[in-house]
């Protein structure tokens, strides 16, 4: 069993008038409903270019095997121009914008079967280099056909 630990720190000396802000969180990523670690990972990087139609590209399709699992997704916009951003969508719903240097980390339960649930990304402003990683449960491989 693999052990994958995701740790977060959010700090600010001056957001709150009364005291510094400090949030810490750490989680070992497990398969759904168990204490068995997630044991598959996919990752990649690339460049998103602004296109005329700009419908974005699918970062990852949901799968039936992934439905209602405990997968986690990391995405980072590696652009440096503060006006360039990546719009992140779950199917037709806009989640938000990752501006230059921003990253996100979220659970993804892939509601395949009852809900279209792909993650898509699209660049706005200019070309955005990006990287991503998905930690997930195992998948049943597709049998080879003759």
């Amino acid at each position: 069993m693999a052990t994958t630990t995701a740790t977060l720190s959010i700090v600010s000396p001056d957001l709150l008038p009364s005291s510094p802000l400090s949030i810490s969180a750490s989680s070992t990523l497990m398969k759904a409903d168990t204490s068995v670690g997630l044991h598959m990972m996919e990752s990649g990087s690339g460049e998103l270019t602004v296109t005329a139609s700009n419908g974005g590209v699918v970062l990852k399709e949901a799968t039936a095997a992934g439905e209602n699992t405990a997968a986690k997704v990391y995405i980072c916009n590696k652009a440096t121009d503060p006006t360039y951003y990546i719009q992140v969508k779950l199917h037709d719903t806009i989640m938000g914008r990752l501006y230059a240097g921003d990253w996100m980390f979220m659970p993804w339960s892939q509601g395949a079967g009852t809900q279209e649930d792909e993650i898509s990304v699209e660049a706005e402003g200019g070309t955005c280099p990006y990287e991503w990683a998905i930690f997930k449960e195992g998948e049943t491989m597709v049998a080879r056909t003759a």
Binding site: T5, L15, L38, A70, Y74, Y85, P107, S109, A133
Partner: protein, 141 residues
Amino acid sequence: MATITASINIASDITDYGFGINKEMTMTKADTTVGIENTNGLGVKNLAATTAVVLELAADATASKASKVYIRNTGSNKAEHVKISLNASASADDTVQVIGRLYGGDWMLIPWEANGTGHNIVAAPSTASEVTTIEYMTFHE
């Protein structure tokens, strides 16, 4: 202008040669290098039923900016979770898009389109046999 820094560290032995992510971001307003300076503070919800609830995020957040939302299931039970969804309205049963499940100890930090159609965030615990506690915070323009 405030300075808010968020850091992520992911360490894994999922491969024999290991895998790691280390990234830090400073939260800035859209299209600028000026820091985000608004928050609704740290909220806490103790959920004793499986009924979905809409989180009270920042009602004054402007849509289509660089807002962020942090949510954590503060429990330790890896057999139960809270389902987080994007919602079309303030009605908790109007879920339009499930994001995913936060099991005990799990956290998320996502960009947020801000309130409005399709952008409310809803939490629905998987169990009523124990209290599920979540904490959440918004950083917004």
